[in-house]
């Protein structure tokens, strides 16, 4: 395995372990975004846990805040806090709240969880960067179901109106949400055309292919005068055979037996 794939596999192990320890949470959408976060934090972003308040750092905002375990796992692996904290997820007194809390978790740039709001805030951060003539970049990850929120389109309009080429929105396009597929619940397609019509540069990729991910982020940097949307085709529950593409794994934690089976699968990958 390549280093990025090994990191992503390790992150998935953290996600499964912390959700099993918590007894509740959202595995599906955390697993689908694991490869994207690993690439962002270990390859793409200028960010340093030793200098986390550097005003010139790149920023990541998890707009789909319910995927908190994927962010916490990544931040711990990146050195923002000890990985031993991860199993305190969702427990009373822990700083690892059910949804990301910027006042509590080192490295969390914005409190999120109510869908659409992290994206709107990321547009504000991008505006701040432009006003200060800074070169930092802002990355935000949205779910595809999240695109049903009206505020997403208010923010999308503003980002292109203000020519925020320092902003990249990544759509974790796994096609599933709590009540079923996007198509069953509320159709969000066609995504490419929607974002293009809002004035965005759009790149479509396989969200589990690091070559694709690398190409997309490189291309996004070259585009001037408009923000970029990366539509990342992903599988919910990616990496665990019995969770992949299953609606039922949106918001249920694995039992001990399921945890053991999942970890065995993931460890087999790195052997």
């Amino acid at each position: 395995m390549e280093p990025m794939e090994i990191y992503a596999n390790q992150l998935r192990i953290h996600i499964i372990n912390m959700l099993a320890a918590a007894g509740s949470g959202h595995p599906g959408g955390a697993l689908s975004a694991a490869d994207l976060l690993i690439y962002l934090y270990f390859k793409e972003m200028k960010i340093d846990s030793e200098d986390k308040d550097n005003p010139d750092r790149d920023r990541f905002i998890l707009s789909k805040g319910h995927a908190a375990p994927v962010l916490y796992g990544t931040l711990a692996m990146k050195g923002f806090f000890n990985t031993s904290e991860l199993t305190n997820l969702r427990k009373l007194g822990s700083f690892l709240q059910g949804h990301p809390d910027m006042l509590k978790v080192p490295g969390v740039e914005m409190s999120t969880g109510s869908l659409g709001q992290g994206f709107s805030a990321s547009v504000g951060v991008a505006l701040g960067g432009k006003i200060d003539e800074k070169s930092y970049r802002i990355y935000t990850l949205l779910g595809d179901g999240e695109l049903q929120e009206g505020i997403v389109w208010e923010a999308a309009m503003a980002a292109s109106h203000y020519k925020l080429d320092n902003l990249v929105a990544i759509i974790d396009n796994n096609g599933l949400q709590i009540d079923g597929t996007n198509d069953e619940v509320m159709k969000v397609n066609p995504l490419k055309e929607k974002w293009e019509s809002f004035g965005w540069n759009v790149i479509e990729i396989d969200g589990h292919c690091f070559t694709d991910i690398e190409r997309a982020f490189k291309q996004a940097k070259e585009v001037k005068g408009k923000p970029t949307a990366i539509i990342a085709k992903t599988s919910k529950g990616k990496g665990i055979s019995f969770m992949e593409n299953q609606v039922g794994w949106h918001g249920v934690a694995p039992s001990e037996a399921e945890r053991a089976k999942a970890i065995e699968e993931l460890e087999r990958n790195i052997r």
């Binding site: 740039e109 709001q117 709107s120 990321s122 006003i131 505020i151 309009m157 503003a158």
Partner: protein
Amino acid sequence: MIATRESYGNILIELGKENKDIVVLDADLSKSTKTAGFAKHFPKRFINAGIAEQNLMGMAAGLATTGKIPFASTFAVFATGRAFEIIRNSICYPKLNVKIAATHAGITVGEDGGSHQSIEDIAIMRSLPHMKIIVPADDVETRQAVRAAAHIDGPVYLRLGRLGVPPIFDENHTFTFGKGNVLKDGKDITIIGMGLMISKCLKAAELLKQEGISARVINISTIKPIDEELIIQAAKETKRILTVEEHSVIGGLGSAVCDVLSTHYPVPVVKIGMNDTFGESGKPEELLTKYGLTVENIYDMAQKTVNNKK
């Protein structure tokens, strides 16, 4: 006579000159909220969100994370209603340094009617942890309150009006965040008011004086955190309280006063305000008269309250 929204617009320009971190956001109402002056002076630091109040507040939150001091303005109805949950989760929950300067609060919006007359904004904002609330009474107080808000770390809700209001304070007045002011001393009853009702409270107190009733008048401009000490002292010394607000009697100034007194020093409190009803179209003064927000009604209620308890 100058409206508190005008005073806000004027002081924003001064603040903009003094502090490059001040940014202003509006939602296509900059001519009405009076942020247009700031926009003209500092176009790079003015962001029009268009008619999109949710994103107005979301962007303000994001800007605050970069060290900016965003003032987000629109009408009070839309600021606190349409964008409520963004204020809750993106501004108050993370305690971000966003100032919400909402204009056109209360029924003195006038002709636009009940859909645009915010009578519940204080009730909504009071319930949010980390939120602080200021309702300035006149030009002098507004300019100082906006300046104070810029220096407070964390969310502040500034409630401003459309209608011109007479001066209450002279230029020597000092606004202190969290402190009320005794505008007139008295021993029989305390009239506690806010915003444009203050001038009416003072006139009512003059009429009461002619009837031999000594009414204390207190201006409470910081609704949250409220000046508990001053309110408790008034309850102890005058035994009766009358609250007056251009807002619903549910959850506003009167409720805030009752929250203090029911815990610390219960005395009878009579509330004048919008009695669980929406407003309607009409001239501001006509509406104030119809809904009992008048000198006469303050006078009557104060007199009744004093006589009942004598």
